[in-house]
Amino acid sequence: MALLEIKNLHAFVGDKEILKGLNLTIEAGEVHAIMGRNGCGKSTLASVIAGHPAYRVTEGHILFKGQDILPLSPDARANSGIFLAFQYPVELPGVGLAQFLKAALNAKQVFEGKPPMDAVQFMKHMNLRAKALGISPEMLKRPVNVGFSGGEKKRLETFQMAMLEPDFCILDEMDSGLDVDALKVVGQGVSVMREPHRGFMIITHHDDLLQYVKPDKVSIMLDGQIVRTGGSDFVRQVEEQGYDSFR
């Protein structure tokens, strides 16, 4: 059974069709890059998998570990193992990062019928991962994403991913506007988390992040559909010949 299987997915925002019969399969253990130029529907795909209410799915299925997730709320999808790292992480003024992460981890514990983590367990879990990703204790006290630079926000998304240990990670344009140092942090975050049971979907329009995380497969997206799926050699073809060479 594939980790994620998308069949004939059609999705609209308002009355505009963005995804036009998209098919995609991602196996456990796989790092799968989705490449396409701006406006082809890549970010819509990420939002639809996560369950954003602005998108209306009219046809098709998304199966995650064999289960149809379309009827599930975004929080139920997250708790069953799907994580979305945002292209534009949302600011939460007044909500401290540690408080936010504790609420998220405990929601997962409750979902799995386990008791909430106690303060000591939580601090251990958090400090270990914060240290590995260069998140300072001072950053943990600040409100979520408020006043952080673009690079810091992406680092925090990677940190949240490490905290929640999802089975399927979607990285939506995590490399846009990042300098080399921040790219390395995101790349390391992914590399450290690569495991046989976990899959990654890396959405991008160029090869910046893919220099640090070598994908197993690359799918090319054009106008709301996956047109070709191949190996990592597709990354070079995109850089050298452009997306139209896949038509």
Binding site: V90, V95, F100, A103, A104
Partner: protein, 205 residues
Amino acid sequence: MIPSDNPFLIHTQVATTLTQKSPTEWLFDVSENGELKADFLRTTQDLTLTIILSGIGAKCDINCIYLCNQNNKINIDIKVLHKSKNTTSSQQIRGIATDKGRVSFTGTITIPYDAQKCDGHQNHRGILLSDTAEISATPQLEIWADDVKCAHGSAIGPLDENQIFYLKTRGIPEQEAKKILLSSFFSGFISPDFDSFIQDWMTHV
């Protein structure tokens, strides 16, 4: 614990007199170099507040919270009169309306023509948690002096959908996500003495 009909908590009261005009109406008079700093909380009753900055250099700093549910109606009317020069006022009003609750806020800042070098600020933010709740805000600035600073702002709307979605993508259920956002709306804004009352009110919404 603050009982729901206790209207305020005074933090600083220097050279300030307080007169109660009616069960819901108070007048503060701040004289020269005096200072008033107070938090107000309303859940069912009206509030009419008049603050006269009557002496040179008088200051006031007012925070007001309203929490309006069921069929409650709350009228909040705050008038600040900068009677003397070099006076400073700050009013921050924040609140939530849900169910069929109706809130009307009127905030008036008056600066007469001879009260130069005054500074008046007013900011209101209201969150609507149901389609049947209503919040209206009427800021009124009556500024006659020319060498003054004065600013006001008001924003009324539901909780931010993108913030709710972000919390949900981290596994946090909708009700809890909303509670986190509502708590953050008041955090650091008002005296911690009100916290348990606000938390308690929110669990019943």
